[in-house]
């Protein structure tokens, strides 16, 4: 079909047919000028001050890989290999602090560099140049979006992974004595984490048959009113399951939050530090074994 003369067929059809014929020619052109274009691209990356976290040698070697992948996509039309490479590249450069706009920037630069070189080659024949662009542009756009999306996906994957890790790490429920649990809270609390923590604690109360729980919030820098309310609900829920709660290590900021949102403090036992909390808990458990149950019996 490439043999058919262009003039005798309507314009769109020409483009359609010549696209198939032109792409190999394009690829051939880009392969021949590989060294020049690659250098030009690397130079423009440095000029635009992108990828400052990487050395020029690294930029050049990555640029080479991206360039080859780029041409391969143009040739085969399949983005899978490029996707794979982009993910792999992202995995390597994300920890070094490379930003999304930098990655998009370099891909768009390459697109620009190649388009210019095509213009230089075909600028004498405008019709042909238009056909070349018709073949080149969609493929180039697809490549740019593939790389961008792969980078963002990889970034999100890393973020999720880290979130999961933090969540797992920071909510252990420990048994220190028969029927005494400790829940050391560390790090910032958000609604979801607070909720997960409560569920975990309630389940632990059931399995360990706990009577007293010490919640230590020394490691929590601040909490908002949602989480404060959640904390109160946790105390109430523990009580419904027959366990008393002692809160320790309340910082002055958190104490202020609790007072400001008007938390009913009558049902919360608070002790200054973890040591005091454990002592208090042991006292409660000790009384529990004896004949008189101290204060709670007097309440009735």
């Amino acid at each position: 079909m490439a043999a058919e003369p262009d003039a005798s067929v309507p314009a769109p059809a020409v483009n359609d047919r010549s696209t198939d014929a032109l792409l190999p020619e394009l690829v051939q052109h880009l392969r021949t000028n590989r060294t020049v274009l690659r250098e030009e691209w690397a130079r423009r990356i440095t000029e635009a001050q992108l990828l400052t976290a990487m050395t020029p040698e690294e930029i050049f070697s990555e640029a080479t890989s991206v360039y080859d992948n780029y041409i391969e996509v143009l040739e085969t039309g399949s983005v899978e290999a490029l996707q794979e490479y982009a993910r792999d590249l992202s995995e390597r450069i994300i920890p070094r602090g490379v930003e999304t706009e930098e990655v998009l920037g370099i891909v768009l630069l390459l697109r620009d560099v190649l388009a210019r070189s095509l213009f230089e080659k075909y600028h004498n024949d405008f019709e042909l140049f238009k056909s070349v662009l018709d073949a080149y542009e969609p493929a180039a756009n697809r490549i740019a979006s593939t790389v961008g999306v792969s980078f963002v996906q990889e970034r999100e994957r890393v973020i999720h992974q880290q979130q999961d890790a933090i969540r797992e790490l920071s909510t252990p429920v420990l048994q220190v004595r028969e029927r005494l649990l400790i829940l050391p809270m560390i790090g910032a609390l958000d609604g979801q984490r607070a909720r997960q923590l409560t569920e975990q604690l309630l389940r632990a109360i059931r399995t360990n048959r706990a009577k007293v729980v010490v919640i230590d919030v020394t490691g929590v820098p601040e909490i908002d009113s949602t989480v404060a309310n959640h904390l109160v609900q946790t105390v109430e829920a523990c009580k419904l399951m027959g366990a008393s709660v002692i809160i320790t290590g309340l910082s002055s900021e958190i104490a202020l939050t609790l007072v400001t949102i008007g938390v009913d403090l009558s049902m919360m036992t608070a002790v200054g530090d973890l040591q005091g909390g454990i002592e208090e808990a042991e006292r409660m458990l000790g009384y529990g074994l004896g004949p008189a149950r101290g204060s709670s019996a007097d309440n009735r």
Binding site: L202, R206, C238, L240, P291, A297
Partner: protein, 124 residues
């Protein structure tokens, strides 16, 4: 489905076996009131281990039972509230402020025994 009430020494044990309808709850209240005076019980354990849902009516009825029995000389313990139920209850704002709760039936009975023992000690 009627809720069985067992007598154990001077205590009554009511074990809720499955989902409790409003009429079941009301019937439990009536029967407990009747039995408290009949057997001169000093304590009651309502075991809700099998309950997966605690609606506001059930919660209110249990609270009413606890308050009524206290006026008739018997302490009521709610035992075995499930973790999910406990969490759902506080989110609904449904709490048993002044009613004693226990982890399970054993804990509930142990608490009542202690109460009785200390009460006897006070009397002596």
């Amino acid at each position: 489905m009627p809720i069985p009430i067992l007598k154990q020494g001077s205590f009554l044990i009511a074990t809720i076996q499955s989902a409790m309808s409003d009429s079941d709850a009301q019937q439990l209240q009536v029967e407990l009131m009747e039995q408290v005076s009949r057997v001169r019980a000093t304590g009651i354990v309502v075991d809700v281990t099998a309950l997966n849902v605690m609606d506001s009516f059930a919660g209110r009825t249990l609270r009413t039972i606890a308050h009524m029995t206290r006026l008739r000389g018997a302490d009521t313990i709610i035992a075995g509230i499930q973790p999910e139920v406990a969490f759902a209850m506080v989110q609904l704002g449904l709490t048993f402020e002044d009613i004693h709760t226990a982890l399970d039936l054993e804990e509930g009975l142990a608490y009542l025994n202690r109460r009785t023992a200390s009460g006897a000690a006070d009397d002596a």
